[in-house]
């Protein structure tokens, strides 16, 4: 494809970067990213990927925008209170960049629908807020060998890692199974600094663009931990677990597990 005059202007700061250029910008146009969750993380990830010109962005969320979201979920506004978050964010993203095809997916991820939903995408971003979905996304990405950029936030601390199935550890290599329900508090119970998902989401969006461009070193085999109170970034190595139940040599998980029942019972 040729760039039109508007695209030359819009993407000029990308095109002049040696690591991007016209060729890299075309890769970004042709890429398809699936973002699970249009909340604190999904908003900035989707916003920056939209600005970057990612061709197709699926944004999955089944909740409606509430006033308590607006302290951190920057794609929503008082004008979209009560409407589905994926629809709300789509409006915001399209106003930023009409080149991008934003597909709202108004569903909850389950072990029945996830493989079908993510199979056509190049990269999956986890911006969800609960362990059942986090493990479900990890397992589905391992099964489909999809790159996954995972992020998590709580209070003043956030984490990011990139999972490249077959080429490094997965989330279960780090934590083999979800913590017991109620052990780790949610943001609803423990709070979160509103800007924290902005930092973590921007890091996730950066990882996605690096994967699309094939430039730099992905954040694989490492968990990046950001401590906002101390302004400290540290990386913890995650060894690949040969006995990992999903990506190890003899995987015991052969079908996707739905943990929501035991969690929702609490």
């Amino acid at each position: 494809m040729e760039f039109n005059e508007e695209q030359l202007q819009r993407y000029s700061r990308h095109i002049i970067l040696p690591e991007v250029g016209g060729k890299g910008q075309k890769k970004i146009f042709e890429s398809k990213v699936f973002i699970a969750g249009a909340g604190g993380l999904g908003c900035p990830v989707g916003y920056y990927l939209t600005a970057a010109g990612v061709g197709t962005i699926a944004l999955m969320d089944n909740d409606a925008v509430e006033l308590s979201n607006l302290q951190r979920q920057i794609a929503h506004s008082v004008k979209t209170l009560g409407i589905n978050k994926a629809d709300s964010a789509k409006k915001t993203f399209e106003a930023l960049n009409p080149d991008v095809n934003v597909i709202p997916v108004k569903e909850r991820l389950t072990n029945k629908n996830i493989l079908e939903l993510i199979k056509d995408y190049d990269v999956v971003v986890d911006g969800t807020d609960n362990f059942p979905t986090r493990y479900l996304i990890n397992d589905a990405c391992v099964m489909l060998k999809k790159p996954l950029v995972s992020g998590a936030i709580l209070r003043f601390e956030g984490q990011v890692t990139t999972i490249l199935p077959g080429d490094g550890p997965c989330y279960r290599c780090l934590f083999e199974s979800p913590p017991p329900p109620g052990l780790v508090p949610s943001c609803q119970e423990a709070g979160v600094l509103g800007v924290l998902p902005g930092v973590i989401g921007a890091l996730q969006a950066t990882e996605v663009l690096k994967l699309i461009l094939g430039k730099g070193k992905p954040l694989k085999g490492e968990l990046l931990i950001y401590d906002a109170l101390r302004t400290n970034f540290r990386k913890v190595k995650i060894p690949k677990n040969p006995d990992c139940p999903i990506c190890g040599e003899n995987p015991t998980i052969k079908e996707l597990i739905d943990y929501t029942q035991e969690y929702c019972a609490i």
Binding site: L8, S12, I15, I16, P18, K23
Partner: protein, 85 residues
């Protein structure tokens, strides 16, 4: 046919009227279309770009063969592509 001592030009672009950073954007896109060893000739009239484009092309790893003012308003810059993008 290139005469003896003359550089063979593989692609020419005329970006007169373009200002920074579009002078560089257009030059960068043009050089991406060439193979290593081929030469791009740029005709431009934005004075700042006459200085910044050769510097940027050196930074990309290419060779500046020529950067000359050819009349009171225009410059010609010749770049040989040295590295893949």
């Amino acid at each position: 046919m290139a005469q003896k001592g003359e550089t063979k030009i593989d692609k020419k672009i005329n970006i007169k009227g373009a200002v920074c950073p579009y002078t560089l954007v257009k030059s960068k896109l043009a050089i991406e279309e060439l193979s290593v060893g081929q030469v791009l000739e740029i005709l431009l009239d934005y004075p700042e770009a006459a200085e910044s484009i050769p510097k940027a092309m050196l930074n990309y790893g290419h060779t500046v063969l020529k950067a000359e003012k050819i009349n009171p308003t225009d410059w010609v810059i010749q770049i040989r592509k040295e590295v893949e993008d």
